[in-house]
């Protein structure tokens, strides 16, 4: 019997070690697997690379990880927050690397990794500082930048419903980066809010098929 439910956050995060590259779902605070990120902060990890749209923002567990010095590099589109953050301080001191990626290019690069597309051209950022050093080619009269797939060792995502095969649905704006990150990591770990019996999720409404998911932890335990 396939059963991807894990009984504890510790089991969910098993194997994440120093130097790991980790995707974290969410847009702003919505759709971010806070319980998993918070628990990650208690492991004393070092040299992490974090891929998350708002890495550096002032919500969720990432600022704590940054303040701990656990993170060497963030890959994101929007590290800015309304107030000064631990990220700002470390960045100004040159103690954390930032790879700034336009949000659509970030999403497409993650999707590309999951879809077996090693590289693609996009007009986004052509002629700007964010295309510096990148290959540019004119296609159909438009300058396009060559961008590469972006994968990770682990993806920490948040879902709404989950069954034991790992099939997932998402709630409202909580979908955002979660489905593509699920496809782009070696080990995808989902924090889900509702456990469902196998066969009760309508096949047409499942957003992430279970084969993309390795572990599911239900928030609040086995509920």
């Amino acid at each position: 019997m396939i059963d991807k439910f894990v009984p504890s956050i510790e089991a969910a995060l098993d194997g994440i070690g120093d130097g790991a590259t980790i995707m974290v779902g969410g847009f702003g605070a919505v759709g971010q697997p806070h319980l998993l990120v918070d628990a990650l902060g208690e492991r004393g990890l070092r040299h992490l690379t974090i891929i998350a749209n708002n890495a550096g923002g002032d919500f969720g567990g990432l600022p704590k990880l940054i303040a701990q010095g656990a993170i060497t590099k963030v890959i994101c589109s929007y590290p800015r927050a309304t107030s000064k953050t631990a990220f700002d301080t470390l960045y100004a001191e040159g103690r954390i690397d930032l790879e700034l990626v336009p949000q659509g290019t970030l999403a497409e690069r993650i999707r590309a990794a999951g879809a077996g597309v090693p590289a693609f051209f996009t007009p986004t950022a052509a002629g700007t500082e964010l295309a510096a050093g990148k290959e540019v080619r004119t296609i159909d009269g438009r300058a396009c930048v060559l961008e590469y797939a972006l994968s990770a060792d682990f993806a920490l995502i948040e879902a709404w419903e989950a069954d034991r095969w790992g099939n997932l649905t998402y709630n409202a704006a909580g979908r955002n980066f979660n489905p593509i990150m699920a496809t782009a990591a070696g080990v995808t770990i989902a924090l889900a809010h509702h456990r469902r019996d196998l066969g009760t999720l309508a096949p047409e409404t499942i957003v992430t098929p279970g084969l993309f998911v390795q572990r599911v932890f239900i928030a609040g335990g086995s509920a």
Binding site: Q103, E108, G127
Partner: protein, 217 residues
């Protein structure tokens, strides 16, 4: 240069809203552009898009009735209107980058007479830059309009011959709405479309870093 009493920020948003026809799919940038939705009457059906995968953004929720799972690109609580659809981030940016938005309205630091847009970075050293979806919107939407103050607080023009700030997208802006004018960006450069009440073309042109052509018939 004396500041002119043109349109208020609400007037500016209202002025843009008046130009958005029913049926368009429209993305509104964070900050001032977000206000535009408040001035589109609910019966004029415009499909507002938010980067985080929402089509059919509705009016602001009443205080106390916010749904924590529904925010816009500026992380503010929103509602959905009937007809709304939710997609993931790759599909949301496929909408943007695939040319499926009729319009996006962005804030700006500078707009060039060649349609270049600078709105994501002042280039200050040591300050972490942030770009979000601005470059995707600037390159991908069918139309890019900019909504911004006509000049900086110290009077420095923001409508310029060529942008000096880091670029967001090249040759993409087709119209600029400011506190004193509505200006088209054409192959011949800036062309006045409308002046705020009581403001002359000379006053507008004096506050620009590039030539302004008069309203065309």
């Amino acid at each position: 240069m004396t500041a002119l009493a043109g349109w208020s920020r609400r007037d500016m948003a209202d002025r843009v809203a008046a130009d958005i026809p029913e049926g368009w799919a429209v993305n509104l940038g964070i900050g001032l552009p977000t206000l535009i939705a408040n001035f589109v009457p609910i019966e004029r059906e415009v499909m507002f898009h938010s980067e985080n995968g929402i089509l059919g953004v509705g009016p602001l929720p009443p205080a106390g009735q916010e749904n924590p799972w529904l925010i816009n690109a500026g992380k503010q609580p929103i509602t959905l209107r009937p007809g709304a659809a939710i997609v993931g981030q790759a599909d949301s940016f496929a909408i943007i980058r695939g040319g499926h938005l009729d319009l996006c309205v962005l804030g700006g630091y500078q707009v060039g007479a060649n349609g270049d847009l600078a709105n994501w970075s002042t280039g200050r050293a040591g300050e972490a830059p942030a770009v979000g979806g601005a470059m995707d919107l600037g390159a991908g939407a069918k139309r890019v309009w900019v909504l911004m103050e006509h000049a900086a607080r110290d009077g420095t023009p923001r409508l310029v011959e060529r942008c000096t700030y880091p670029l967001t997208a090249l040759g993409t802006v087709s119209r600029v709405y400011t506190d004193i004018a509505v200006i088209d960006v054409t192959p011949d450069g800036f062309v006045l479309r409308e002046a705020a009440p009581g403001i002359s073309i000379e006053q507008i042109a004096a506050r620009m870093g590039a030539p302004l052509s008069p309203i065309r018939d």
